[in-house]
């Protein structure tokens, strides 16, 4: 059964294998939406970073994909939710090169650079929610059209 276009797609993140699954799912969604192949790769890279962030800090969580619309703009929304320890200082966590663990400190700020929009909410002891979006650019449809 094909799922309706507006339904959400969820990928549970519990082990490093799930990072690959989340990325592939995100890639499929981004392609279905009509993002360019370069943008699809940027989205996949951002998913990789935030999914890894879930594993590193909260051990488990989920990545949820959905199509969003704002006016005439269409986009892909990627939300990463966990019930982990939360982030005490979001400003610090968003600093490039800052890492509490063995990472490169690239994850969150890197994902922000790759996407068009990026929001983060976190409460200590409750968890973290990262919501990011990539919008379909007009140039893409023109490029595809002229081909």
């Amino acid at each position: 059964m094909q799922s309706p276009p507006n339904s959400e797609v969820r990928v549970e993140v519990r082990s490093t294998i799930d990072i690959v699954t989340a990325r592939q799912q995100g890639r499929e969604q981004a392609m279905a939406l009509g993002l360019s192949s370069a943008e699809v790769t940027l989205v996949a890279a951002a998913i990789s970073e935030i999914a890894r962030n879930i594993l590193d800090h909260a051990k488990r969580g989920e990545v949820v994909f959905s199509f969003v619309q704002r006016g005439s703009q269409r986009g892909l929304q990627v939300a990463a939710n966990d019930q982990g320890p939360g982030i005490a200082d979001i400003g610090l966590a968003m600093q490039y090169g800052y890492s509490t663990r063995r990472g490169l400190g690239v994850g969150l700020p890197g994902a922000k650079w790759l996407m068009d929009e990026f929001e983060i909410e976190s409460a200590v002891g409750k968890g973290t929610k990262v919501t990011m979006r990539k919008w379909v650019k007009d140039e893409n449809s023109q490029l595809n059209h002229s081909r």
Binding site: A44, A45, G110, W113
Partner: protein
């Protein structure tokens, strides 16, 4: 999924066939470190053409892998980073400093030939 490692003269070629999990990547690192000794390889080519994303973990692992193989005495070059993948890496601020890279297998072989020339027998 295991990465096949082929022997080509005094070089080893690791040709990644599918997207790798973190565990696969660490396995490749250990396999190559072993095989360099086993085959007394002078050079290693890691072909990443099929990788759709090289994220921070992959970058760190590749960097570590190459430095480790260099320490084992094998020049190592990474080939086949796709344009979109390179673009995403740049956006993420990821670098492969100190790591040799080349366009494809052919250029990778040329790179190793150049690098290992010092050790090779003189041509005349």
């Amino acid at each position: 999924m295991q990465v096949p490692i082929l022997k080509q003269g005094s070089y080893l070629i690791a040709s990644i066939q599918a997207v790798l999990s973190d565990a696969d990547m660490l396995q490749l690192r250990d396999d190559l470190a072993d095989k360099v000794g086993q085959f007394r390889a002078r050079g290693v080519i890691i072909d990443v053409t099929v990788l759709d994303v090289i994220d921070s973990f992959a970058t760190r692992t590749l960097r570590g892998m190459v430095h480790m193989l260099n320490l084992r005495g094998a020049e190592t070059v990474i080939v086949g980073i796709q344009p979109e993948v390179a673009f995403a890496m740049v956006q993420l601020g990821l670098t492969l400093e100190g790591v040799g890279t080349a366009l494809d297998l052919e250029e990778g072989l040329a790179f190793l030939n150049q690098k290992t020339k010092v050790h090779a027998k003189p041509a005349k």
